[in-house]
């Protein structure tokens, strides 16, 4: 065990080491089984804490209460001068939801959609969008064994324009599920699969892809699982991939 590296393993896994040390440690790990095992243990712990830490969810009633409360607060009028771009963003985030539709169903639908859109965008923005990198469905599907409490089938892509890039575990409503990333031309598509225990039901069962804030989304329930296909790709592409997934299940 190279002791001087041990103290840096956490910073390494947190992505906080300077680039040159990152490279040095990468190289060291390839030749040091003891450090490699140590890193693996720490990584498992990080993942376990990540998942155990996402524990509490606000109740819909509370969400509604805060929304109303904030909407009722008189805001200060002199907003000139400091309303820079970042503050504008802050305003949108803080009070934006106040202007959402007052119809409960519509709000819930928007929430469900925005959670999915967030998951999709966060994946694309991530430096490591997938945890299992493979274009082979026979590699990607088994990777999820033991990580999610169900199994699923993936379609054969030969002869189609779609490419499977890989997958990762995603959480929606505190339930673990699979996120698969496909590519068609320059567009990336997220396919989410969760147990159908009410997650995202607000989005309904769309037979046709729907357009929401420039994302196309299609969702359906099949064999006790709920599927979501979301992307900025065209509605036609979404529909084609959805049909292939339905046929495979």
């Amino acid at each position: 065990m190279a002791d001087h590296w041990t103290a840096k393993l956490d910073a390494y896994l947190d992505g906080e080491l300077p680039a040159d040390e990152m490279r040095e440690l990468d190289a060291h790990l390839r030749g040091c089984p003891s450090c490699a095992a140590d890193v693996l243990g720490r990584l498992q712990m990080k993942r376990a804490v990540h998942s155990a830490g996402m524990r509490y969810r606000p109740s819909p009633d509370f969400r509604e209460r805060v929304r109303k409360n904030i909407a009722a607060k008189p805001r200060r009028s002199p907003m000139r001068g400091w309303l820079g771009a970042a503050v504008a963003v802050a305003l949108v985030v803080v009070v934006g939801f106040v202007t959402l539709s007052v119809r409960r169903g519509e709000m819930r639908r928007q929430e469900a959609f925005s959670e999915l859109a967030d998951l999709h965008v966060a994946t694309l923005a991530s430096a490591n969008p997938v945890d299992v990198i493979s274009t082979d469905r026979h590699t990607v599907k088994p990777w999820f064994q033991g990580k999610i409490p169900f199994t699923f089938n993936l379609p054969e892509l030969q002869g189609s324009e779609f490419i499977l890039l890989g997958g990762r575990v995603a959480y929606l409503g505190q339930s673990p599920g699979a996120e698969l990333i496909y590519q068609i031309r320059k567009h990336q598509i997220s396919v989410f699969i969760f147990q159908d225990r009410g997650v995202g039901r607000e989005l309904g069962s769309s037979a046709q892809p729907r357009k929401e804030l420039s994302f196309n989304i299609e969702t359906w329930n099949q064999s006790g699982l709920r599927y979501f296909v979301i992307s900025d790709a065209s509605g036609d592409d979404i529909r084609k991939l959805a049909q292939m997934l339905k046929a495979a299940s």
Binding site: D10, A37, Q44, M45, A48, H50, G84, A86, V87, L91
Partner: protein, 161 residues
């Protein structure tokens, strides 16, 4: 409204009580709205929101009680390595989620918050420093001690079980 869920989760972990967590989140949004003028464009908005929430918590009754029990930062015990038969491997083998949650709950609040911001919110050290109003060096040392404390606590819990 993703920040809402995240702030609520963090608040509940800090306060360990649903009603208190709701009060904290509610007050955070009210304060944020009132104090938008003090938000400096170009700085991190998420860290700013967490800072408001945490300061609100620290001045609450539960927060005052929790902060009164904060241990000193000094710690000379050697860095543990995570070899075979470590809390991590035992934990994974047993898939005992609740052990980890109980161990997190039992951590002192200054360890719990830094771990949650790093592992659950996936904040950078810089963001954590801003959210907790502490220097980045303190973030690193506190994280390291928090992880050590969590592993020790898990080890004890698993041995006892």
């Amino acid at each position: 409204m993703p920040l809402f869920d995240q702030l609520y989760n963090f608040a509940h972990w800090l306060a360990q009580d649903r009603t208190e967590a709701e009060d904290l989140v509610q007050e955070t949004y009210v304060k944020a709205l009132k104090g938008l003028s003090s938000f400096q464009p170009g700085t991190n908005f998420r860290a700013w929101m967490y800072r408001i929430l945490r300061n609100t918590f620290l001045t609450s009754r539960t927060g005052l009680k929790a902060s009164a029990t904060i241990a000193l930062d000094a710690d000379d015990s050697p860095e543990l390595s995570a070899g075979p038969e470590t809390p991590e491997t035992i934990l994974i083998e047993h898939s005992q989620h609740q052990f980890l949650q109980a161990a997190l709950e039992a951590l002192p609040v200054h360890f719990r918050e830094v771990l949650l911001l790093c592992e659950v919110e996936e904040m950078s050290y810089q963001e954590i420093a801003e959210a907790l109003s502490i220097p980045i060096g303190t973030v690193m040392s506190r994280l390291s001690r928090a992880r050590k404390a969590l592993r020790n606590s898990l080890q004890q819990k698993l041995v006892r079980s």
